[in-house]
């Protein structure tokens, strides 16, 4: 068994939470190598070095890798991947974009969104927006696995991995990066936050979303949203929680003005404690909430914020 974890790196910056949890998951099977493929990897490689159970960090540097275009995983890099029996990536937009392309080139299947590792070739993954859990066994020579990071812990530190710089020819003549529109804010990342406050269509407008954000800031929380809230332009796309948005499992998830459609529940029902505020006592969100308050959000939320 030889395992490679592909680190998620954006233009030299390591996505630490996603990568660490993926390493932790993969290392349930054995020690792992980590691939650092980006434009400048020094900082990321150093951060990864101290993670327990990491054996060797393989560094490949190229400008063409900085924005994670899957086409830059060209022939020579694919050759390197063939040395492994398992390849793990986080099931983030990075991993979802990349892994199936690698699989297509290798003519192998993927096992995506793995929530539990059973054996070297057997994994559990949610299907139907989490309404069923499937246990599958891969017959492929290389197991290509993406990890649902909300189901795993961060990897402990205490390692002392080797760093190996590889000179591999990277090519990409068919796609190129133009720009990123990334909103900066001081709040914690949605996927690693301990507390999340999410707003839905009930919030009513972009301006009103300030009510949600104020409560979130009081709690030091990340802000999430339902698809309806994002589609209506109340919140940016990267706040969406759900089957097709982010999957989160914080200590506390506060759903405000969200009805609780299965597609939304798929992204948050593994949260430890769920609080729901909705004026409709029949809203399905109350079926998964530990604590529910039937109340108009514009009355309840500012009051809660004041009293915290």
């Amino acid at each position: 068994m030889k395992i490679l974890v592909i680190a998620e790196i954006h233009n030299g910056t390591l996505a630490e939470d996603q990568t660490s949890k993926t390493i932790c998951a993969a290392s349930e099977l054995s020690t792992v190598d980590v691939l650092c493929a980006s434009s400048n990897c020094d900082q990321a490689a150093k951060q990864l070095q101290s993670i327990e159970k990491v054996d060797t960090i393989k560094v490949i540097e190229s400008e063409l890798l900085s924005e994670n275009l899957a086409e830059s995983y060209s022939a020579d890099l694919i050759e390197l991947l063939k040395e492994y029996t398992h390849i793990f990536v986080p099931s983030s937009s990075f991993g979802k974009n990349l892994l199936p392309r690698i699989a297509g080139i290798l003519d192998m299947m993927i096992v995506s969104d793995v929530s539990k590792i059973i054996e070297t070739d057997t994994f559990e993954r949610p299907i139907y927006a989490g309404n069923a859990i499937q246990r599958v066994q891969s017959k492929d020579k290389i197991k290509l696995v993406s990890i649902r990071t909300s189901n795993f812990n961060s990897a402990p530190s205490g390692g002392n991995a080797k760093i190996e710089k590889l000179s591999i020819n990277i090519q990409n003549k068919i796609s190129s990066w133009l720009e990123n529109k990334v909103q900066d804010n001081d709040r914690p990342e949605l996927t690693s936050a301990k507390v999340i406050v999410s707003g839905g269509r009930g919030v009513g407008s972009k301006e009103n979303f300030a009510v949600i954000e104020k409560l979130a800031d009081k709690l030091g929380a990340a802000v999430g949203a339902s698809r309806a809230a994002v589609d209506s332009g109340f919140a940016p796309n990267d706040w969406q929680v759900g089957q097709t948005g982010k999957v989160v499992a914080p200590e506390l998830y506060v759903a405000v003005g969200i009805s609780g459609a299965i597609q939304h529940l798929a992204g948050m029902k593994d949260s430890k404690v769920i609080v729901a505020i909705n004026k409709d006592e029949e809203a399905p969100i109350f079926q998964v909430a530990d604590f529910g308050l039937v109340e108009d959000l514009f009355k309840a939320v500012p009051e809660i914020e004041k009293k915290l």
Partner: protein, 253 residues
């Protein structure tokens, strides 16, 4: 320009999946089936490109059971010009893996020579999120996944993608595969006259053997089970009570 749109027949998104008691899978007998919502969005985009005069022909392809004909008739009613059905199973409970789907689609692409393939980003049944990427790899074409905006030119295409941090815009050469996200457009409903017209549009049927594609699965499904259910909670009386609960459970970030 010819556009290919693969469409999958899935359990309708409004229906809650029920796991069969014997652990063999999700019950798909006598339940409402529909076109995968993401594929509807892909098809809508293709139709709009045709309406703008950018695309000349739209071919919808479905892979699965004989009943996928209905899905293709819907696609034709929405505005696809013709349809191809690849019957890869006789059992509605068999899900064809994305790798197989991409191999079959690649074979169709060789015959039809489209310049653009618009796919849904994931199927809401198996939630794999893989067909577009695998297909683009098979064809050695560029891919643009999770598209929320597509700006098509003669030889290339600018695509805005929904990624974890926000939005990313990339440029890909044509021919290409684009997988679409929810916010790209809102699909139309087929009108009654168009539903009638669709019955006369060509629908060709094939088998995987006709395309010389091996469809044996790579994953063995050992078991399908119910997820763990949450213990039922309580409705609190007032804000003060809720504040107490929040304080108790909101460990600092």
């Amino acid at each position: 320009m010819k556009i290919l749109v693969p469409v999958k027949r899935v359990l309708d998104y409004n229906v809650k999946a029920k796991v069969k008691a014997d652990g063999s899978g999700v019950d798909l007998a006598n339940v409402k089936m529909s076109m995968n919502p993401f594929d509807e969005i892909a098809l809508e985009e293709a139709i709009r490109l045709k309406e703008k005069g950018v695309a000349e022909e739209i071919i919808a392809v479905s892979i699965g059971v004989q009943q996928n004909q209905e899905t293709l008739r819907t696609a034709l009613a929405m505005g696809a010009d013709r349809a191809i059905l690849i019957v890869a199973s006789t059992d509605v409970n068999v899900d064809i893996e994305p790798l197989t789907v991409s191999n079959l689609l690649a074979a169709i692409v060789k015959k039809e020579d489209p310049k653009l393939i618009l796919c849904g980003k994931q199927a809401i049944d198996n939630d794999f999120n893989a067909t577009a990427q695998m297909l683009s790899a098979k064809l050695d074409w560029p891919q643009a996944t999770f598209a929320s905006e597509i700006d098509l030119d003669k030889d290339n295409c600018k695509v805005t993608r929904e990624i974890d941090g926000g939005l990313q815009t990339i440029k890909i050469n044509l021919p290409a595969v684009v997988s679409v996200d929810l916010r790209l457009n809102e699909p139309r409903y087929a009108s009654l006259p168009n539903i009638m017209k669709a019955k006369r549009k060509p629908l060709e049927e094939m088998k995987p053997e006709d395309l010389a594609v091996d469809i044996s699965p790579r994953l063995k499904i050992l078991e399908t089970k119910e997820p763990e259910t949450r213990a039922s909670g309580i409705i609190v009386e007032n804000v003060d009570e809720l504040v107490e609960k929040i304080k108790k459970n909101a460990g600092r970030n």
